[in-house]
Amino acid sequence: MKFTQRLVFAGACAAFACMAGSAVADEATPNTVRLGLYFVSFHPSAPDLSGPYTPPGLNLSMNSVTTPYAAYLRDITPHFTIELAGGVPPNTEAVARGPATLGSVPYNGQLIAKVKWFSPSLLFEYNFCDPSAALRPYVGVGVNYTSFYNREVSAAGEAIVGGPTSVSLSHSMGPAATAGVAYKLPHHFQVMASYSYAQIKSDFVANTSGIVRSTSVNFHPSTWVVGAGYSF
């Protein structure tokens, strides 16, 4: 289902999902910290790699990652919350997509590179239902910043590009959006689940002994989170 449809669906459910709750009034506990797990899958789109000595049809895919989620939320009003969310920087893997071999060097399916992501998002969220309700769906929009580090080309990757290679990925700043639901438990605890999307784009440049190859990647990550929180 497309993300916009998911948002509408969440909003529609919210209209029917509000219940009275027995939770403690939120004004006294405007802060929440959450821990959970991100489940990220990428749907990267990029033009084929371009540069000298680069045949057409060379592209990449990215393996899904799972990484711990942590967030700090601050209620501003009974319905509006700011969330600063981030994950333990995951090690994402780029896998070659294209012809089976280049010359005699295996290509398709080879793990080419690993890179760590630092990718916090800042979101403004609207929480449906009464603050005292136990189950509160929410939607949010905000901004994501992503920078890439510990970029590592694998031995298979070096064999493909022809030698030791330095890689750069430009950092990304883009819109982010989320929709989720939080369920209050006794003693200020909660559990939550959400679906998020962020626009993460980066210019990728690889330099192999002076041969420079590049592409622009749109990572299109779609992210599920499951977590628990504590308000204070």
Partner: protein
Amino acid sequence: MRIGIVLGHAVLAAFVLSSCGSDSTGSSVSSSSTPGTLLENPPARLASLSATDFGAALSATGSGAQLLSLASAGTGQLKCGVDFYLYHYATTGGAGESIKSSGALMVPTGGSACTGARNIVLYAHGTAMTSGYNLANIADPTNEAYSEAALNAAMYTAGQGYIVVAPNYAGYKDSTLSYHPYLNGGQNGQEMVDALTAARAAISGGNLFTTVSDSGKLFVTGYSEGGYVAMAAQRALQAKGMTVTAGVHMSGPYALEAFGDAILSGNVNIGSTVFVPLATTSYQKAYGDMYTATSDIYESAYASGIDTLLPTGIPYGTLTAGAPGSNLLFSTGKLPELALFSSTTPSVSDMTALGVPSANATQLAALLSVPANPLSASGFGSSNLLKNIVRIQYALDAFNPANMDGLIAGTGVGLAPAPAYPLRKHLAANDQRALWGSTAPTAPMLLCGGHNDPTVFYSVNTSGMMAYWGVAGLAGGAGKPIQSIDVDPSSSSIAGGIATQVATAVAGTYMADLAASATPAKLAADVGATVIGLYPSHFSITASGATPIDAQGVLIGAIAAAAEQVAVGDYTAATQVTSPTQVGTDITTAVVGVYHGDLVPPACTVAAVQYFSNF
């Protein structure tokens, strides 16, 4: 506001990290301009082909399949795979410029016959028209270097397990020199030394080259311009005390003064309209005295821009994208295809006007008239490249009886006593007889060529050098350190050479098959059999076909393939050719046209591989 406060929160500090963490390092890069410096270590590998995959790639074309057969000794299975690297080195230009150039390293891969200590072949390539010429780019069959790269990679690296070091030369791929120091013997030899030094640094650098090492044996070889360059390289290596195990120099313009004398007098060679601008620019850069303006020596139709025309930045695929044999440089009027000289040759009055005594003028006018033989005559036309004044002034220098080249006069082997006309003076200074002087080559040498070569004349260059070294006792007999091999088995007394001999025989076969309404396949087989049947002693002929048993057989086999293609083309043309004269002309034209570029190289490379295997 709120965002700022939140972003400024100390919590964020925990997430901040340096924007450059550790990442894979590239190769080490040097900006040193010391000649011979390897500029990236390790160099980039452009392609890696296993023995099987390289063989499959070659099999895709007819000429590639023939090459595979030669390189695999007929088995079809190459011994080694090949890794192709593009490397960059610092060197010096033709006027002392500090520059960079690039080259190819072809490294064997595979089993025990392909790893460990490897012999090195230092290869010098032939005349290239395009500045993108790149022997490392085996993945691009439209690159001008492709067939030369495939030939050397197959025969030496895949076939013998040798490492091939093959520079692209100053002025070509990734070079910072804006021109190519063509036939500049000092620069050419020194650049090959620099290229070898840098290549050895890459091989022993330990980075990617963990499976091969330098055995210490060095073979030096090259074709056409490369034959000249390789001989100059052998000279430069010897002068530096660097070991050369053996050299094979193929179809090169070694005796430059004599070759120039022959051409300028009217014996025009095929390709002259490309060679002359390259040489003129090279010598203008090195010596500065070839002309004040290009229009001094070039006809006005071509003078403007001729000094930057070659090598051209136009990609070879684009240059030759038109009809087979076409070239944009010719079709867009930048260069004449064949006409080096005006068909209105210098007259007696042209020369007496310059102060030449009329008796001499009459002699010279006759000497410089359009020759009778059609091959030389094709070098004359109305839209010619060089002005008559060049011919006149050159001839006054070259055919002054007191100032003749011994090889041209037939009186000896030495250079002219005092060449003064700039072009002749510089050809003489770069003549291999001047580069070597009385120094004897300390490594054994084989000079290879075909005696019917219309592009680089065998008699004046190869036979000339053999005669030169023969006087010193170094050549001219079994056991001498300098040997020669003529891969053309035809008798030199055949009028019109081997091309005419083949054309006459094939025309007969063609007419017989035409009368019998044979299939094109049968015609091809019959033509092949006819050509091979002219020189059967160079083949092993069995029921399954004819296999060359020596270098001459390889040449004849290549001629057979060319003749088959022409015959079938004529037979299956929209308007079928039915005239034996026409067939004969087509065959002759084709054989002459590809003799130097396509027929002799595989034959001489087979001879070279055989020669090197003795060391």
